[in-house]
């Protein structure tokens, strides 16, 4: 977004006043040194983590996925003795059930517990943005997955283990350029933050960079259900490709109605279509492409091992949320190892050290912009029943 977060006021306010009253005062006393139980640095034999995200409710799929990935990583870390032979990690999870107040209340409980060394934060953008200032204020390192909005990674103690969709959408534009699909129609959900941002700002910039010509750009709302007229308008224009930035049920309808209106060009969508969310569109979705930060079809060595390990443990193919959770947990472990200190302060320093160097995860080469993860992403194609990699 073009709105810069006015950090000046934020920090002024947090410095002068305890945002959550007595709570914050209690939460922050001594928290910095007691984390992990071993005050003088060093890696404690038991590292206690807290996971505060949705495991029920409308975005449960993201929380549950991240949790499964993180659990798998924890098992591997302990098995390998990555942090030392007798070091164990425990992750206690609480469900925020889609509620902001629940997230901030659980978060405040977690920071008040000096035993909690680090927190995995909420997956929903607004919950994350609400607890982020609390993390900064009480100096508890917090890693967020998903939560792609602004106001989440706001200082030294807030980290994000998911690259926002807009940061790797360039591979979509690149592909369109390479295939010579230069006339592009855009249809996007203007009330859904991630899509509004890509549709209004990121994609137009990318289009310019890659010599694409946006023939039309139509915004809809989250509660728009019928796309007949939009689809017909696009079919009449016959652009080379359509960039479709819609939420899951909308995408199924729009794809179907595009094909019913007689449009047969390339449709470029988003990672929302992953995990079989377009299966209901049947043959209308065949040939659909979308960039993702992780696909189980990826062929890197780490990715293949991860998919195998995940399938053994859970009996299902991992989705991107699981990969993000997995890589985030490894980020944390590497951080602790790098600083050799499992206190809150040590974890913060370690996470930043690892971020500065980058590392290889199941999502490929991970780089960081400050505390915020970046991936190159992969472009995949849905053939009607399965995802496969589009060779670049």
């Amino acid at each position: 977004m073009s709105v810069p977060t006015p950090r000046r006021h934020l920090f002024k306010a947090t410095a002068v006043l305890a945002s959550v009253g007595l709570l914050a005062a209690c939460g922050s006393t001594g928290a910095g040194t007691q984390g992990g139980g071993d005050a003088g640095g060093g890696i404690a034999s038991e590292i206690k983590l807290k996971g505060i995200y949705d495991t029920t409710g409308p975005v449960a799929y993201a929380g549950v996925g991240a949790s499964k990935g993180a659990q798998l990583a924890m098992e591997e870390i302990e098995e390998q003795g990555f942090l030392g032979e007798d070091v164990s990690i425990s992750l206690e999870e609480v469900d925020t059930a889609g509620e902001i107040e629940r997230a901030s209340s659980e978060f405040s409980r977690a920071v008040a517990d000096p035993g909690v060394a680090a927190i995995f934060g909420p997956v929903a953008g607004q919950q994350a943005a609400t607890v982020a200032p609390m993390a900064e204020q009480s100096k508890v390192p917090t890693i967020f997955n998903q939560a792609g909005s602004e106001g989440v990674v706001i200082g030294d103690y807030t980290f994000r283990g998911t690259a926002p969709m807009g940061t790797y959408y360039d591979i979509a534009a690149e592909h369109l350029e390479k295939e010579g699909l230069t006339d592009v129609a855009v249809i996007y959900n203007g009330t859904y933050p991630t899509f509004a941002e890509i549709g209004q700002e990121i994609f137009p910039e990318l289009a310019e960079k890659h010599g694409l010509n946006i023939t039309s750009s139509q915004a809809v709302q989250s509660n728009t259900q019928d796309f007949t007229s939009q689809a017909q308008a696009i079919a009449q224009d016959k652009p080379d490709a359509v960039v479709m930035l819609l939420i899951a049920p909308q995408s199924v309808t729009a794809l179907t109605q595009l094909s019913q209106a007689g449009y047969d060009g390339q449709v470029m969508a988003t990672s929302v279509q992953a995990a079989g969310n377009v299966a209901q569109a049947g043959e209308h979705a065949a040939g659909l492409m979308y960039p993702v930060d992780f696909s189980a079809a990826q062929d890197g060595e780490l990715a293949v091992d991860f998919v195998k390990g995940f399938e053994e443990k859970y009996g299902e193919t991992p989705d991107a949320y699981a990969a993000e959770g997995y890589d985030s947990m490894w980020w944390l472990a590497r951080g602790i190892k790098a600083s050799g200190d499992s206190s809150r302060e040590g974890i913060r320093a370690g996470l930043q050290q690892v971020a500065a160097e980058g590392f290889e995860g199941v999502m490929g080469d991970l780089t960081f912009e400050g505390n915020d993860m970046r991936v190159s992403g992969v472009l995949v194609e849905w053939d009607g029943t399965d995802e496969k990699l589009v060779t670049q």
Binding site: T256, G262, Q280
Partner: protein
């Protein structure tokens, strides 16, 4: 012309959803806020069964209608009737019926949400397939035709039945004055549960047809339509079935125009702004009558 046809289809989808709600409201005075949940749950039930056995369109619709009717009748019997019995008058019951409906709605929605993990569901396994026809340059699918015929047909049929038939008269009598009506030999409870069953069946029909038309449904669809349906009912005038028909097409028309002007993110503001203005000019809605006041 194509735009008109599209608007007609969209309006018919809205109308199908709103009809059941309007029927219950205009006759027995129940504003059922669980209508959206019943709509989603019926369609989901049909999806659930059709995942095991490939079903034809009529079979899917039948399942959806039956589930909707059962749920709605149960809601009336177990929630709304007890609320009415425990209230001094209908007016004081109104708010509690609203809240009761919201509470009831949470249950099927939570079940669907849990079962689908919030992913959209549809009838991909059904034997029905959509055909596209091109007549005189107009594109229309067989599903749209069914939706339009069902929507407009049932709406007109219901309106006439309420106006002309004996049962319709009885029902309307309950709406106006339930005490006198029962003195005249109208069995209120039975009539009310029957009406709610029909309303629920309509929700089920709407749910199934919407999935056929749009190919998928999200669990939040019911809530989104609920507020639109409420707007249509109020816009047309509370208690008037003809008003609902008009309300549905006015809303669909307004939305189509806004999309045509490529102001997609202003849809709610313009359509609800329109409703706001209509209410300022006609405080009883377009077809509302001043004398029957049950608000």
């Amino acid at each position: 012309m194509q735009e008109l046809l599209n608007t007609l289809t969209l309006g018919s989808i809205y109308l199908l959803f709103a009809l059941g709600m309007a029927l219950a409201w205009s006759t027995i005075g129940i504003l059922n806020f669980a209508h959206g949940a019943i709509f989603v749950f019926s369609a989901f039930s049909a999806h659930f069964i059709s995942d095991f056995v490939p079903l034809s369109m009529p079979a899917i619709i039948l399942i959806s209608v039956l589930v909707g009717a059962t749920l709605s009748a149960l809601t009336q019997w177990l929630a709304f009737e007890p609320i009415l019995k425990r209230s001094k008058n209908h007016r004081s019951a109104e708010l509690r019926i609203l809240i009761g409906g919201i509470g009831v709605a949470a249950i099927p929605i939570a079940l669907v949400d849990w079962a689908t993990a919030s992913a959209p569901f549809g009838f991909a396994n059904s034997s029905y397939s959509t055909q596209v026809y091109e007549i005189m340059g107009l594109r229309i699918t067989n599903t749209s035709l069914i939706v339009i015929i069902a929507g407009v047909g049932i709406a007109v049929g219901l309106t006439l039945w309420l106006r002309r038939s004996r049962q319709g008269l009885g029902l309307r009598a309950i709406g106006v004055d339930s005490e006198t009506a029962s003195l005249m030999g109208v069995n209120r409870t039975v009539m009310a549960i029957g009406t709610m069953a029909i309303a629920g069946g309509l929700a089920g029909l709407a749910g199934a047809l919407q999935v056929f038309q749009l190919q998928a449904m999200g669990v939040e669809t019911g809530d989104q339509l609920l507020i639109k349906a409420f707007a249509m009912i109020v816009l047309g005038g509370l208690g008037s079935m003809a008003g609902v028909i008009l309300g549905a097409f006015v809303l669909a028309g307004a939305e189509s125009l806004i999309f045509a002007a490529n102001m997609g993110t202003w849809v709610d503001a313009v359509s609800f702004g329109l409703i706001f203005l209509v209410l300022l000019v006609r405080p009883q809605g377009i077809f509302g009558r001043q004398e029957v006041r049950r608000t």
